[in-house]
Symmetry: C2
Subunit: 152 residues, 2 copies
DNA sequence: ATTAAATAGTACTAATCTAGTACTATTATA
DNA sequence: TATAATAGTACTAGATTAGTACTATTTAAT
């Protein structure tokens, strides 16, 4: 169904939580799990990944926790997804050209590349802040910059 | 990784095969498996679904097979995906509003709805024919209709 | 120093989903 | 009547996902 995994789903919820507070503020795994109604071990696991991938800064020890590495406006949904699930690649040929057994006969590689790029572009234009402060109906993702974009 | 399932992947390959031949032409499961290098039982399974979902017409009996219900220009990638995997819904709240345990606290529902709509729009604009006759670089999906579209 | 509260790293398990197969029934052609 | 095809359904093995558990390390407070 092209469904987000729980890990990514929770990860986005967690980052949105950070984004709604002062940028430098630290949040512990326990606090985040509690306030968002998520299972603590999962929250722990996800925060570790997000820190390793450079979206969060970790602060060890008592009174420790995690804080956002960058502001919400500067973190895209695409980045979050790829931090938690690896690069967005709807088919094998997009991720690892040449490895799919079907490449010799399949004629869809170019098309998949384009579909993938379009989806990726969409998700790259959306930032964490867009998620929690949804722009008014008529304004496209990408915040204040109201340009028309060409789909391709 | 937001990867297509094999079933969908193969399904699109199969439909593209149909689309590259005369519209009314029948193809049997065996022929399709052979020519596209796909496992026969999978091809059988997929064709049944596509027929049930109204994308293919089945012709039973000897010399039977399947043919396209509509021309390739009139079948979108979104339709194919939803025939094989059910409705495109990146999160639970998009597919079944009210059923996710997290809805009371989660503030991302609107955002997911918008992301989902955007992706869906993209996939809806792409037709089977676009897949096999990739439009030149500068022309967006949607075939000859070269309009700009607003992302939202 | 010691304790407590936090993250880091890793390994594990159960349940679910996916890919692929098998089999029987039905239909249509020759 | 034999053969070649789809329809329907059930099954299986393997991979993935969701969630847990445990040990080590780090830091703050007392």
């Amino acid at each position: 169904m092209i469904r987000m995994s729980k890990e990514t789903d929770y990860g986005i919820i967690l980052l949105a939580h950070f984004s709604q507070h002062r940028k430098g503020r630290k949040h512990s795994a326990r606090e985040l799990a509690l306030e968002n109604g998520l299972p603590l071990p999962m929250v722990r696991k996800i925060l570790k990944v997000l820190a390793r991938e450079g979206l969060l800064v970790s602060h060890r020890g008592a009174k420790g926790g995690y804080s956002l590495m960058r502001r919400g406006q500067r973190i895209s949904v695409a980045e979050i997804i790829s931090a938690l699930e690896g690069p967005l690649a709807m088919t094998e040929c997009v991720e690892a050209p040449g490895e799919c057994r079907l490449e010799p006969t399949c004629q869809l590689k170019t098309a998949w590349q384009r579909i993938n790029d379009t989806v990726l572009q969409t998700l790259s234009r959306m930032t964490l802040s867009d998620l929690t402060d949804p722009p008014p109906e008529s304004v496209p993702f990408g915040g204040s910059d109201n340009r028309l974009v060409r789909i391709q």
